[in-house]
């Protein structure tokens, strides 16, 4: 019989591995500058180790005196965060090198941010949720501004910092109110109190609303979305890729744990209206504004706002169908976004300048691989079969139809249609426009190309054979609700 501390430590082994690796990378950066070029690979090695630990070690459930719940859900999310981190690090090395910004801090901060996200994914106590949130956010503030000499990168960092601090304040204040109302920081206790009838207690309602609002900032859903375009556009592309999937995933899982516990739909009609309103507004506004963007990264920011709107539909619908649809959506979204941003990094001449759609004209025949991966990911984002984006939307809309939210499915598909219009703009710029007179000079990069290819192949493979993904998501949800 292993001692409790033994179980506790093993349960968070992946986080421990990443933290140790981050410290090691920092030391290498300081004392062994000769190894600097290998930092990206070393970081990937650590991620692989962490993923192995997550797969090999058991998921004991509640650990660390009930503050973390390392269950199947946490394991699933950990693996998805690690996959996103792996792809980010893979493309980061050459990307930083070509911008003369290769400094070890990048990898260290990325690893810490991932640890924060993983803590959030397994947090079942308000304090650990907040701890994870901050550990995730603070490194990201720095990463956003990693191009110190680029104004838009600095602007991105500052914006994300100010908005993030604002969001943290919301979350913290909401948590204080919830604690005041329920006398506990344990999510299970809070959920039980709320489900027992305290939902309409103003203190609880306001507290819950503020926590949700704070998470909405991280998700970048309307009305907490305004930071996304500037931050996406200004951040170094690998950071944008990481930012677009990992914090959103972590925040969604916290929301899912909250919503699953108390079944939002039954809690009160007000919550249904609020969440459905946010979902519909995010989809519609995100897609409408994306239509008129000229910068691909800004466009993807608005598309991300819309996509989180679809994911919120699944959160709202709840139940096994809805919850597993959230997970499927997260995985799908990760692959599509990672692939799209990696391909964009391949197709950009100057990383600190806007990435205009116009600059992609005619590249379909010159940078075939990059263009093809970008096209695959964009079609997938538009929800076209046989790509994983379709699987994800199918899962979400299926859940909505099955639980009486047919109108949300109709709004969702109408929005998919709207979104196709702007994804197509990029695709026709790639393939149907001639190369401009002064064609951009692009630097080939094997690791970035590999990242894009792996992500695009994932998009295709999971789209053609979604059974494994759907099964895994369903199994996770069954195991935690049992």
């Amino acid at each position: 019989m292993p001692s409790p501390i033994h179980t506790d430590l093993l349960a968070v082994a992946p986080q421990v591995i990443l933290t140790l690796a981050a410290g090691l990378l920092l030391l290498i950066e300081a004392f062994l500058p000769g190894l600097r070029r290998a930092l990206s690979e070393l970081g990937m090695l650590a991620v692989a180790g962490a993923a192995w630990a997550r797969l090999a070690l058991p998921t004991p459930g509640l650990v660390w005196s009930g503050t973390l719940r390392v269950d199947e859900l946490a394991a699933f999310v950990d693996l998805y965060i690690l996959a996103a981190l792996f792809l980010t690090l893979w493309m980061a090395g050459p990307f930083l090198r070509r911008n003369d910004s290769e400094r070890g801090e990048f990898y260290v901060l990325a690893l810490f941010a991932a640890v924060g996200a993983m803590v959030m994914a397994s947090a079942v106590n308000l304090l650990t949720v907040f701890l994870g949130l901050e550990l995730l956010s603070i490194p990201l503030y720095v990463l956003n501004a990693f191009f110190r000499r680029s104004v838009i990168s600095l602007e991105a960092g500052l914006k994300y910092f100010v908005v993030g601090a604002f969001a943290s304040a919301f979350v913290l204040y909401g948590m204080a109110l919830l604690y005041g109302a329920t006398a506990s920081t344990d999510l299970a206790v809070i959920v039980a109190v709320i489900a027992a009838g305290a939902a309409l207690d103003p203190l609880v309602a306001i507290g819950l609303a503020m926590v949700v609002a704070g998470l909405a900032f991280k998700l970048a859903v309307v009305p907490a979305h305004a930071w996304a375009p500037d931050v996406y556009q200004g951040s170094p592309t690998p950071v944008t890729a990481f930012l677009s999937v990992v914090p959103k995933g972590a925040a969604l899982i916290v929301l899912l744990r909250l919503a699953e516990g108390m079944d939002l739909a039954r809690l009160s009609a007000g919550w249904v209206v609020a969440i459905a309103g946010m979902a519909v507004a995010s989809q519609t506004l995100g897609n409408l504004i994306a239509l008129v963007q000229r910068d691909v990264k800004r466009m993807l920011a608005y598309s991300g706002i819309a996509h989180m709107g679809y994911a919120l539909v699944a959160v709202l619908v709840g139940g096994p169908d809805g919850a597993s649809a959230v997970l499927v959506y997260l995985v799908a979204y990760t692959f599509m976004n990672m692939g799209a941003f990696a391909a964009l990094a391949l197709l950009s001449e100057r990383d600190d300048r806007p990435h205009l759609i116009r600059d992609l004209e005619g590249q379909g025949y010159h940078r075939q691989l990059a263009a093809l991966t970008l096209t695959t990911c964009l079609f997938s984002l538009a929800g076209m079969p046989p790509f994983v984006g379709f699987t994800a939307k199918f899962a979400v809309f299926r859940a909505a139809v099955n639980h009486g939210f047919v109108w949300l499915a109709v709004v969702g598909v109408a929005n998919s249609l709207l979104s196709a219009a702007y994804y197509l703009r990029v695709i026709y710029a790639l393939y149907m426009k001639p190369l401009p007179e002064r064609a951009p000079e692009l630097q080939p990069s094997l690791p970035i190309a590999a990242t894009a290819t792996v992500a695009a192949l994932g998009v295709l493979a999971l789209g053609l054979y979604p059974t494994a993904l759907l099964d895994a998501a369903a199994a996770v949800i069954t195991s935690i609700t049992r």
């Binding site: 079609f379 079969p385 099955n402 998919s416």
Partner: protein, 498 residues
């Protein structure tokens, strides 16, 4: 082994061959052409095995293959053919080598990408006709959008991007709601039986139970409308046709032929298979509307075609008119008219596909499609004129050629239910004859009007080979329609009898 997976091979072979083409350098244009023409001809030859293996007396699905795909949701890779789809599958596999050969000498950029797009498109189109699982159907239905978008947008005319985006968005408008309808049908099936299934054969037991009474918002009618919109846009039924002229005019010949030949049939096929098959009560309720739209399409398409100055646009609008006949046969008809409509789908693929090929050949020689630029071509290009005339006569329904059989069956079969519509459609036939023959007259007869047309080369041997299969079938169907009507009989009887 081969016979067990006949249908899968026919379905997957084009896509698989597209993957084979991928690593071959794009500079080797000749290699790409030779390989693709050989492969697509072999695929057609192989698909004839389907025809021989097909049992015309068996009304239901046959040559079926069923593998679990997403078993937890009741989704399977279930494909099969019946009398309704077999002809359309063969039409698809026939047109593939034809368009590849037609594009042979053209100085087309990115020929490798064109072939890959065509092959992927072919798999999507065949899939649409053979899918029995509605999830699979939706996937292949949507897949056809992507290659067609590229075919129009990359190899098309001056306004190609506009046309390509319009095509994509229009088609998607219909299909996204179809997704909700499919999900709803599956949910309803689960409600009734407790099992998840997207299988057509199983949904047949529950979908007709959807209530259609209680106003316009009855679930049965809404599901019908969602399917119907997707198919109506594809056919296209008036007033959803506005994407078609743009797409046709801007698309390269290759695209136009496939678009007219097969893609439009996907809509009519969908109406018959899903709207009629799954939702007979809603169908009955909507017959007047569908009939009216069909007739409007026939007359409107013909009138607009008449005033076109561009031959290609004229043929495009004539498609609207001809597909109106198909819709009329489906909407108003019983056994004979429905069989006629299926045959007319094939006929339209042959004659309109043929016209687009011929217009493309003319354009390649003169780089114009304006009727006013021609006149008196018969002296310079007698063989071309002859072929064009045969295809035109087929298109306007001359007895002895294929168009007559289809139109006759449709009109005769619809008479008892919709005499007014048939009378008006008869007017459409006359108008069709007027604009097509008038076009022939202005382009081919008379003295040579334009010196630029002197010494235009006649049909080459290759071009003759392109047209030959179409001509043979045009005559064959006209003289002995039984070959092509008998397979559809049992299947249509089963579908209508439900």
């Amino acid at each position: 082994m081969v016979d067990d997976h006949l249908l899968s091979i026919v379905l997957i072979a084009p896509a698989a061959f597209a993957v084979v083409l991928l690593p071959i350098p794009r500079r080797w244009r000749k290699v790409h052409r030779v390989l693709t023409i050989i492969a697509s001809s072999l695929m057609f030859a192989f698909s004839l095995r389907l025809w021989t293996a097909f049992d015309a007396d068996e009304p239901g699905f046959q040559l079926a293959e069923r593998l679990p795909w997403i078993p937890q949701l009741g989704i399977s890779y279930h494909i099969a053919v019946d009398g309704i789809s077999i002809l359309l599958v063969l039409l698809t596999t026939l047109l593939l080598p034809v368009v590849v050969l037609a594009a042979w000498r053209l100085n087309i950029e990115h020929i490798k990408s064109l072939h890959i797009s065509l092959l992927l498109l072919t798999t999507g189109m065949i899939g649409t006709f053979v899918a029995v699982d509605l999830f699979l159907f939706y996937v292949v239905w949507e897949i056809t959008l992507i290659p067609m978008y590229f075919i129009i947008g990359v190899w098309g005319g001056p306004r190609r991007i506009y046309a390509a985006v319009k095509f994509f968005i229009f088609t998607m408008v219909g299909s996204v709601l179809m997704l909700v309808a499919v999900l709803y049908l599956a949910w309803f099936h689960h409600l009734q039986t407790g099992a998840w299934s997207y299988d057509y054969t199983e949904l047949l037991t529950t979908a007709p139970l959807l209530p259609v009474t209680g106003g316009l918002l009855a679930p049965g009618l809404l599901v019908f409308a969602a399917f119907g919109l997707a198919f109506a846009i594809k056919v296209p039924v008036f007033p959803f046709h506005t994407w078609l002229p743009d797409a046709h005019v801007e698309a390269p010949t290759t695209g136009s032929v496939i678009l007219a030949g097969v893609l439009l049939k996907m809509g009519a096929y969908g109406f018959l298979r899903f709207n009629r098959g799954l939702l007979p009560a809603a169908w009955e309720a909507c017959v007047p509307l569908l009939t009216a739209l069909a007739v409007v399409g026939i007359i409107y398409g013909a009138l607009v075609a008449m005033v076109q100055a561009d031959v290609k646009k004229l043929v495009a609008y004539s498609s609207v008119s001809h597909m109106g006949f198909v819709m009329l046969g489906l909407a108003a008809g019983g056994q004979a008219a429905t069989q006629g409509a299926i045959l007319q789908m094939v006929n339209h693929g042959l004659s309109t596909g043929g016209l687009f090929l011929l217009v493309g050949m003319l354009y390649q020689r003169r780089h114009t499609r304006m009727i006013a630029d021609f006149g008196g071509l018969a002296h310079e290009m007698p063989v071309f004129t002859g072929v064009f005339l045969i295809v035109t006569l087929s298109s306007i329904g001359l007895p002895g050629l294929n168009g007559f059989v289809g139109e006759f069956l449709i009109l005769a079969g619809s008479w008892s239910r919709a005499p007014v519509a048939v009378a008006l459609a008869g007017l459409g036939i006359i108008l069709g004859a007027v604009y097509m023959l008038w076009t022939v007259q202005r382009v081919f007869w008379g003295p040579l009007a334009n010196e630029a047309n002197r010494l235009l080369p006649d049909l080459t041997v290759r071009e003759l080979f392109v047209m030959l299969p179409l001509l043979v079938l045009i005559v064959w169907i006209g003289v002995h329609p039984g070959t092509f009507l008998s397979p559809t009989e049992a299947a249509v009887r089963l579908l209508l009898g439900r």
